[in-house]
């Protein structure tokens, strides 16, 4: 079963099973399982969003720093709850107007062509 990795994550995040909670500045946790080819999709429920807080979710290689947000470097691709902006190498681009919030179910798909 895919869970939040107990060790491939920033020490200050609280994670247990498939649930993760962050505080203060952005920090990252990766899943216990990764993929390297083919087309994959995962979904999460956005359970709780305190006032003025936001999350970013997406896909990350193992090289991406844990003490930053997904989409900060060339090793990861992020989607932000605020304005629905997508990020890669710390550059935000318009992607999904209005963003997402608590109560939404978020889906992330990655397509890694097998023959490339």
């Amino acid at each position: 079963t895919v869970i939040v990795s107990p060790n491939d994550r920033a020490y200050q995040l609280h994670a247990s099973g498939q649930k993760i909670t962050g505080f203060e500045g952005y920090a990252m946790a990766r899943a216990s399982h990764g993929v390297s080819k083919g087309t994959w999709y995962f979904e999460v429920n956005f359970d709780d969003q305190p006032e003025e807080s936001h999350i970013r979710i997406g896909w990350s290689q193992t090289h991406a720093a844990l003490q930053a947000c997904v989409g900060y470097s060339k090793f990861s691709y992020g989607w932000r709850s605020k304005h629905g902006t997508k990020f890669h190498e710390a550059k935000g681009k318009k992607y999904h107007f209005g963003g997402f919030k608590q109560g939404d179910t978020l889906g992330c798909l990655i397509h890694l062509p097998v023959d490339k």
């Binding site: 500045g25 720093a65 003490q67 930053a68």
Partner: protein, 180 residues
């Protein structure tokens, strides 16, 4: 706990004694750091022969005395990396970023106290020590030898070695030539 069972009694006593002394040090440091606030008068700010401005002893300071706390904004390492790039882009001189541990840095570039003006020397009369007080890590500058009245306060910045060098102006006999 598992390890303790394997420790012979004598080691256990040694371990306990070491624990107590370390606790003792911390509480002693805690007491001394609060004294620190009232002892700022023993140093003054003035032009430095090393670089720009510096801090000078206004009285003779004994060895291993707490002199001043290096105060600034506590930030995470990656935030410090981003700031260092931003400061360089804006031409803000040598950074006043002081690494506490692998996770955090104290940045005194824009907010902090005058400890940021203490210059580096390769043969310093002070040293910096990271104290953990009530779970919070703080940086304190201690005298490493007796400092005479009128002497400039200096400590070794211990900057990491880098390719693009910053010349060292400390003028000490054993000067290493560069800060980094």
């Amino acid at each position: 706990a598992m390890r303790h069972q394997h420790l012979a009694n004598k080691d256990m006593r040694l371990l306990q004694r070491r624990l107590l002394t370390s606790l003792g040090d911390a509480s002693n440091d805690f007491f001394k750091i609060n004294q620190l606030k009232f002892r700022k008068k023993m140093i003054k700010f003035a032009r430095s022969r090393i670089h720009g401005w510096g801090l000078y002893a206004m009285e003779t300071i004994a060895q291993d005395e707490m002199i001043v706390e290096y105060i600034g904004q506590t930030i995470r390492s990656l935030v410090a990396d981003e700031r260092e790039k931003a400061y360089e882009r804006r031409g803000i001189g040598s950074s006043y970023l002081f690494r506490i541990d692998e996770n955090s840095v104290i940045d005194a570039t824009k907010r902090g106290n005058f400890a940021r003006f203490i210059n580096h020397s390769c043969q310093p009369n002070c040293y910096a020590k990271v104290l953990t007080i009530e779970g919070e890590k703080r940086i304190v500058i201690y005298s490493r030898s007796v400092i005479n009245k009128g002497e400039e306060i200096t400590y070794d910045y211990k900057f990491p070695i880098e390719d693009d060098k910053i010349d060292c102006l400390c003028g000490a006999k054993a000067c290493r030539g560069y800060l980094n």
